[in-house]
Symmetry: C2
């Protein structure tokens, strides 16, 4: 099987032009087929603040009202997505920006409102792996924003970590797939003071660090997504800075 | 050769959910392969007004400063494009939203600043007809927003009428291509009081009506694009309401 690397990039990188340019330059050094997944939460927060619209979070996930969805659509699928694609083109990586509605690439359903109402948030129903394969085999790199949709044409916000994990699981039937969660830190810390990175994180350690509150907020669903990926065919899952991963310095590998 | 219909939809339709839904429903009635091109100028104007940013026009074309470009990116390539794609998916038309940077579909260069400075505006260098064909042959309808880019990765604003015309010219080597400019009117009027539609508009009539000021503003580059299309292989060019064209009522056909 051919190799495929699914990269997810965090909002602190996409917000900062210097960091983003460095990240995208690093992508040119990765051999084989690649898919990039991004959100743009930090930029959305700035935009919401500027427009005096409240930012609502719950357990590390955003509550998306209609206005927040509209802004997310504009920033994730419009500004951030197209700026990444244009930059990649200038680096000679032929890329294609997508939201989940494009070519039915990521179909979702509106999250059921139980005790918690996350608003216009989608849970993934299916990944169009046939389309992703078509694009990859034509030497084009998909760049997926974290906007999805449901079968009735309702656009939805979906956690980018989860999209990256689900795409990885689905594509692992066709490619030897690695999933790299890239952000501004070197990996998952094993202490509150952020002095030491965990090199190999297994489920038992995760549970222990979660109960101590050392792994918290957005890191909890991120690491949960990793374990989900490992159970579903993804061959390797890394969390850290793309610099470090490429240069084989410190990063966190998730192991069963 | 297979038939291809390139549709361009105007901003007064994309701004109005009822008109847009009707327009997209009508698309399901058109047989054969289709490409849709849209801008979103009216929605951009509303957004600029809301954000106290001046709207600048010259000869029916927008002057795009950096902030206007950012907003155009968000509205054309983000909000309008993805809302159209999601709606088409719900109508069982598999579609793919694009800006020019996506898969290098529409490559431009920054317009030279001579006596007039249009700002971040791109003139078309090339259309990636191989990519469009790949998508069409896989039964997916491209939906092109009027955001393009240059080889250095600079995103640019480009007239949607011109994009539709250039795509039509390029695709006419592979498909029997028709170009339909769809908007809220039934066609091009032959008098200032908008009482009578011109059924067949040739170059001589165009020049005469332009000199009298009856064809003016944005209609001038639109019709100019039509004559350019006719000279470059497009088999039929229509201007009017999609309702009327489909039902074969009054519309304007451009003839040499």
């Amino acid at each position: 099987m051919d190799k495929l690397t699914v990269l997810k990039v965090g909002g602190a990188i996409t917000l900062n032009k210097l960091l983003l340019d460095k990240f995208l330059n690093n992508i040119t050094k990765i051999k084989g087929k690649k898919i990039l997944v991004h959100g743009g939460g930090r930029e959305l927060d700035l935009f919401l603040n500027k427009n005096n619209h409240p930012i609502k979070m719950l357990n590390g996930r955003r509550i998306t009202d209609k206005k927040t969805l509209d802004y997310a659509l504009m920033i994730y699928a419009g500004k951030v997505n197209k700026e990444i694609v244009a930059k990649l083109q200038s680096l000679k990586i032929n890329s294609l920006g997508l939201c989940g509605a494009d070519a039915n690439s990521v179909l979702c359903k509106l999250r059921t409102k139980k005790e918690l109402d996350y608003g216009y948030v989608g849970d993934i129903v299916s990944i169009n792996s046939v389309f992703f394969k078509l694009i990859l085999e034509n030497h084009i790199m998909p760049v997926c924003s974290s906007i999805t949709y449901d079968k009735d044409g309702l656009l939805l916000n979906t956690n980018a970590d989860t999209i990256a994990s689900e795409i990885s699981c689905n594509m692992s039937r066709m490619y030897k797939t690695e999933l790299w969660y890239c952000f501004e830190e070197k990996g998952v810390y094993q202490d509150d003071n952020k002095t030491k990175i965990i090199n190999k994180l297994d489920m038992a350690t995760f549970k222990s660090l979660k109960s101590k509150g050392i792994i918290s907020k957005g890191m909890i669903p991120k690491v949960s997504n990793c374990f989900n990926g490992l159970k579903n065919g993804v061959s390797k899952i890394l969390i850290g800075s793309l610099d470090a991963i490429i240069e084989n310095e410190t990063y966190t590998e998730i192991i069963p």
